[in-house]
């Protein structure tokens, strides 16, 4: 079986209050499902790797083939847990180590 290539995305949540990791991932899944449907969402292989409520940052993992779909969906998020919010992609990398080096977190 062919190995699935992945990408790690560092995200910044822009909102007044920091959402919980579950609220954040619900918003991400909701956006992907709304734009690409359940079939499209199933291809993304989304997973939350790291979440920092204090800094309002997150790291998620997605399949390489669907990175553009995930980026588009993230840009379409306008609220998280019924509170106005935006999610910005800070960096994308092939490994978690390289991502953290890029960000110097």
């Amino acid at each position: 079986m062919k190995r699935v290539k992945r990408r790690y995305l560092a995200l910044q949540v822009d909102s007044d209050e920091a959402p919980t990791p579950k609220e954040f991932m619900d918003a991400v899944w909701g956006a992907v499902t709304k734009l690409y449907g359940e079939y499209g969402a199933s291809l993304t292989g989304l997973a939350l790797i790291d979440y920092n409520a204090e800094k309002k940052t997150a790291v998620i993992r997605a399949a390489l083939a669907t990175v553009n779909m995930v980026r588009t969906s993230l840009a379409s998020i306008t609220s998280v847990a019924d509170r106005e919010a935006a999610v910005h992609v800070i960096a994308v990398s092939g490994t978690i180590k390289a991502l953290y080096e890029k960000l110097k977190w």
Partner: protein, 252 residues
């Protein structure tokens, strides 16, 4: 690949439709600073022809503090083609960007023909008023007008309305590409929470079939070249396209 990456890093991103309320300088400053943080180097704020000089100066000061270039823009909504030509004659030399919101076919066709129009915008919610078809595109390709797409409706609409908007945008962008009409993607927002990074706007355009290269051009090269061209034209040294005064006086 490295060279491509370097070229894209040097890209200057622009948002030609940032709706800022001049009566509320605090909010205006917040939105402009946010745009600068998100990576925009040039913004255009729609002004009314009656905007006072001190308000313009205040806006200019906010932009220079945020280290972002400001272009003046006016949005006109003429009722007839005569009204359009009259307004263009009155406003062309006062603003760097002129956008025409086409509310009827007569105005849309005249705006596409006229070299003084920079941007053609169509109402997002009234789908019967989106007159960008192949005839319109052919006229626009012979003038300098670009098709402006605001992303705000894509973010705020949901369900069937968004589906219909996406299908219209897909048709319009494919016509624009066929006739080589430049596409300008703008935010059109007045709320900082709806502001997106230029690359995020480019990602959103994939929803209506714009490829990555065209999408990045639509948020950088296309809007920047409109402002650059008009600044040259508005400069006192401009004579005609390709001709400008280099030196004046008795000794030349």
């Amino acid at each position: 690949m490295q060279r491509n990456r370097d070229a894209s890093m040097k890209r200057a991103f622009a948002d030609l439709h940032l709706c800022v309320n001049l009566k509320d300088p605090a909010t205006a400053s917040r939105i402009i600073n946010k745009a600068a943080t998100l990576g925009y180097r040039l913004i255009a704020v729609p002004l009314s022809p009656e905007t006072r000089e001190d308000e313009k100066m205040k806006l200019q000061r906010i932009c220079s503090e945020a280290n972002i270039d400001l272009a003046s823009r006016v949005d006109i909504k003429p009722k007839t083609h005569n009204d359009l030509t009259h307004q263009l004659r009155r406003l062309r030399r006062k603003f760097e960007v002129i956008c025409v919101t086409c509310e009827n076919k007569d105005v849309a066709r005249q705006a596409a023909k006229d070299h003084r129009v920079d941007l053609l915008n169509f109402p997002s919610l009234d789908f019967r008023k989106r007159f960008f078809d192949s005839a319109e595109a052919e006229l626009a390709s012979n003038s300098l007008a670009a098709l402006e797409i605001d992303m705000k409706p894509l973010l705020v609409l949901e369900g069937p309305a968004r589906v219909r908007l996406l299908s219209n945008l897909r048709r319009e962008t494919s016509i624009a590409k066929e006739f080589h009409v430049p596409i300008v993607v703008s935010s059109g927002v007045a709320n900082e929470m709806l502001l997106r990074k230029p690359r995020e706007l480019a990602a959103l355009t994939s929803l209506f079939g714009l490829d990555e290269a065209s999408a990045l051009e639509a948020v950088s090269q296309n809007p920047v070249s409109i402002v650059k061209r008009n600044r040259q034209k508005l400069s006192p040294k401009f004579v005609a396209p390709g001709i400008r005064i280099i030196k004046e006086g008795k000794d030349c």
